[in-house]
Amino acid sequence: MALLSLENVSKTFGGVMAVKSVSLQVEPGEVLGVMGPNGSGKTTLFNLVSGALVPNSGTIRFKGAPITGLPPHRICRQGIARTFQLVRPFLGLTARQNILVGLGYGCRPLSGSAAREKSEELLASVGLEGLGDRPASTLTAMDRKRLDLARALATSPDLLLLDEFMAGLNPQETSEAMGLIRRLQARGLTLVLVEHIVWALLELSQRIVVLSAGEKIAEGPPTAIARDPRVVEIYLGSIPFP
């Protein structure tokens, strides 16, 4: 059974169809890449799955049960976590407190010393060891991304949605970020990735879905997608696949 499935999901914003009757499935343990030009509906798709937006039509199922229309905190507690394209750590809280929010309210809530121990482990796992007491507002852009990821991981998700995690990173940071994502994958976490850095997406994903103007126009393994004429066309024939 698919971990996540979307059946004919649509979302309009005042007449604009941001997501048009999209159907897709994510299998347990899989890494699915979602690509498409700016404005093609990728973030909206994440907002629909995580409950930040409610679809106009269609059904979203998680672990077989419909979650369409559930509020975001309930969807989180069922095991779907996300990061934000423009990272949104809780700036007025310390890095550790950011993580404690996810630990306290996620799928497998922890409290007291267990939560504290786990928060140290999570800080270390994303490369923020020693920064737990720092207010999130004093962290660098890359460290805020790490923190956003740690906060999401703290909810113990079965499915993690990463929205342009590598946007704005330098080559060194990009390779660190890829290492982080690979480690999550190795732990058996199911991932859906949205990335603008196409080569990175093709390298990390086992399967790719391509969106264009809200519609799914292609789906398949990375090698096939890189050669798909429709995909090559929307990317102006320039996929820099190494």
């Binding site: 995580s50 409950g51 930040a52 509020p71 975001p72 905190h73 309930r74 989180c76 507690r77 976590a81 996300r82 934000f84 949104r88 750590p89 809780f90 700036l91 007025g92 809280l93 407190q97 404690l100 929010v101 996810g102 306290g104 309210y105 996620g106 799928c107 809530p109 409290s111 906060r151 999401a152 703290a154 909810t155």
Partner: protein, 302 residues
């Protein structure tokens, strides 16, 4: 730092053992009411980030209910509880609606609601409210002082417990970013309503103490928006969103206001308004921030 608050509480408990000065006891009651107003506002406005300008509505409602029951022969402690319950019920009634408003609209909406209530009360009960004559002849300051102290201790205790709890952290996450909080599993509306219930219930208790303390006042007086503004002023001066800030702010405000009122009569609001703007612009952490910065300096020096 919690020890400082406990020490302060012990100090205020002991004061009547050393002095029978009416002046000091009256100042004490005013201080306790100020602490309660500021700290109860801080739970909703500071921890949860829902800047309400309607806090006085609940101070007024608590005073109204408690005063009415007490005037009709119900014991004061028994009369305070329905005041709190009416505040909680009323806040739940308006909460669902008010929380559809965000930011400035929430602030203005809560002010409008509170003003409506004040005007209604002013029209329905235009006469002055005087405590029962038996209570007047036996009027003693000491029970008012200790009830006020108990109120302040409860409100600060609730805020301190909240600040250390998971739910308090969830409230702070909502203040920082609602969408990110919801995505982390925090039920936004539920937490906002809980903060509202705690905040308004405590304001209702403060209103009850006010009703017990003041011999005579117009029933609409505790509904005055000035009480809301003072609560906000004190929280920001001391350090909004912290446990110590509103206590420090209330101490500072009450003492300075008393000092200024003796000398300059009405100008204190102007002074506090200016101070408020300076603090918001230059020192968003309030007086508590001055203290932490000072301590950091001392640590570095030693």
């Amino acid at each position: 730092m919690l020890w400082a608050l406990l020490g302060l509480g012990a100090g205020f408990t002991a004061i009547p053992l050393f002095t029978e000065s009416d002046y000091l006891l009256n100042l004490g009651v005013q201080l306790f009411l100020a602490v309660a107003l500021a700290q109860s506002w801080n739970v909703l406005g500071g921890f949860t980030g829902q800047i309400t300008l309607g806090h006085a509505a609940f101070f007024g409602l608590g005073a109204l209910v408690t005063r009415t029951l007490w005037g009709n022969g119900v014991g004061i402690l028994l009369a305070i509880i329905p005041g709190i319950l009416v505040c909680i019920a009323f806040s739940l009634l308006i909460g669902g609606l008010a929380f559809r408003l965000r930011g400035d609209y929430f602030a203005i909406g809560t002010l409008a609601l509170a003003e409506m209530l004040r005007i209604i009360v002013g029209n329905l009960l235009p006469g002055i409210s005087t405590i029962p004559s038996t209570a007047l002849t036996n009027y003693a300051l000491l029970p008012r002082y200790y009830l006020g102290l108990a109120l302040a201790a409860l409100v600060v205790g609730v805020a301190a417990a909240l600040a250390r709890s998971r739910i308090g952290l969830g409230m702070q996450a909502i203040r920082e970013d609602e969408a990110a909080a919801a995505a982390s599993g925090v039920g936004v509306l539920g937490h906002k309503l809980l903060a509202l219930v705690i905040s308004t219930g405590l304001a209702g208790f403060a209103g009850g103490v006010f009703a017990y303390y003041h011999a005579s006042y117009y029933p609409q007086y505790p509904f005055s928006p000035l009480w809301s503004f003072e609560a906000i002023l004190m929280s920001f001066i001391g350090g909004v969103g912290t446990v110590h800030g509103p206590v420090l702010g209330a101490l500072f405000y009450t003492i300075l206001k008393e000092y200024l009122a003796v000398r300059l009569v009405e100008i204190h609001l102007l002074i506090f308004g200016t101070l408020f703007i300076l603090i918001v612009l230059l020192l968003p952490g309030g007086l508590v921030e001055v203290w932490t910065r000072f301590r950091r300096l001392v640590h570095r020096g030693s």
